[in-house]
């Protein structure tokens, strides 16, 4: 299982039955494939629909039906469509229970960075899209990211270096190696993969964290 699937599977366990859920652009989109049986969520797509269904078969697709990534979608029974103002009233107004957002960096203050406007940056993600609104309005923000970048630098930091998408908003951080809960008291390590020790995790994690009394093996 590659790291993307691992993260998506673990992140899916953060969703509760009956929740309104917004999955961000990129890796979070895959979370929809791993939602546990018995957990029924109402998926919102920020371009303007609730009750998003699976990708349609060729011939059942519709030029007027796509998700926030421009990909063809279907709608489930009970779906609704609306304009962008309504969509962001839903998001900003606290009507989304959980959002899962891809992150470039997170830190021990619960900050998340997932965009940059700086032209020289190799990590240039040109625009925040709906991410800042989701950070502002969703009741639970789950940040997902690879634990380290390609050169081995930690992406779970003491302090984000990139511009912030949301300040102090992250509740849960899921990497392919660990799960942290974030609060004003800092990061709490809740789960760790079975082939790693806490000491090994500290070596590859820039952020400081405490270890939960009920620390358990990383769930998949």
């Amino acid at each position: 299982m590659d790291y993307r699937e691992r993260i998506a599977r673990r992140a899916a366990l953060e969703l509760g039955d009956g929740e309104v859920v917004n999955l961000g652009f990129g890796m979070p989109t895959a979370v929809a494939n791993f939602i546990p049986q018995g957990v029924n969520v109402i998926l919102q797509s920020e371009n303007g629909c609730l009750m998003v269904g699976p990708t349609p078969k060729y011939g059942e697709h519709d030029k007027d039906l796509a998700n926030a990534g421009g990909q063809p979608i279907s709608l489930r029974p009970g779906a609704s469509v609306f304009d962008s103002a309504m969509s962001f009233a839903i998001i900003r107004g606290g009507h989304v229970n959980t959002t899962i957002l891809g992150a470039l960096e997170v830190d021990q203050q619960g900050n998340i960075s997932n965009w940059s406007r700086f032209k020289g940056s190799a990590k240039n993600i040109p625009g925040m899209g709906g991410g800042m609104d989701l950070c502002s309005g969703a009741r639970k923000v789950v940040a997902i990211l690879r634990h380290q970048d390609k050169t081995g630098n930690s992406k779970v930091l003491k302090q984000c270096a990139l511009p912030l998408t949301g300040r102090g908003v992250v509740k849960v951080i899921v990497t392919e190696k660990a799960v942290f809960h974030a609060s004003p008291q800092g990061l709490l390590l809740k789960e760790i993969v079975k082939d790693a020790t806490v000491e090994e995790l500290r070596k590859i994690t820039d952020a400081e964290f405490t270890v939960a009394g009920d620390l358990r093996e990383y769930r998949l």
Binding site: K57, H61, D64, A85, G129, G130, G137
Partner: protein
Amino acid sequence: MNKVTTLDKVMDKVHDGAVIGLGGFLGIGVPLGVVDKLLEKGVKDLTLIGIVNAHPFAGGNFGVAKLFKNKQIKKFICSHAGTCPEAVEQYRADELEIEYYPMGTWIEKLRAAGSGLGGVLTPTGVGTLMEEGKQKLTLNGKEYILELPLSAEIAFIKGYRADKMGNIQYRRASLNSNPVLAMAADYVVAEVDEIVEAGEIEPELVGTPSIFVDAVVRCMSFDEHQKAVTDLWTNCGQLKAVNQ
């Protein structure tokens, strides 16, 4: 009153340096005929107000990507520009200015302009670069950013059907930014798949009331539009991939 006209006539209103709004979201609900006409007319130095950019696999050949490819845009006011490589390239080369707003802020700025509001107070972006150069207020212990109205000289929206008076009916997820953009411009052109007589659209199905719309044009039929989007999705594997 009959607002049905031709694209050539409404294009007289678009000049070099104009501030235009284009409805649509990553290729969906985009007035494709309008884009082609803007390309043909070749107006330059446009300020473009659009919620996001082209479809990620447009390759410079679908929707708004064509205008970036042809270097007709001087400034882009959006929430995300990255799905159009041509735009990103021009931005990095200092040929394109981009003004970013969070998506929910972007739409509220337009709604404010169309609704006679002096601005909106949003908590989105507090503690981020979005605070730069803006007034902040604290109300009941919560911080907000004051965002001012945003409007266009001319807006091009995409509807499903229009009646000849200019009432617009939308369809499925192609609403996106269109109904709000239709409120926030001096002159509004609606491109639609079908044109019908006044009275044929049930009043409760009217998404944009006729008074917001100045001109109605039809460039492609429903089936032609469906084919254009189908080709886009199949060419980039988004449809084929699931059937293999």
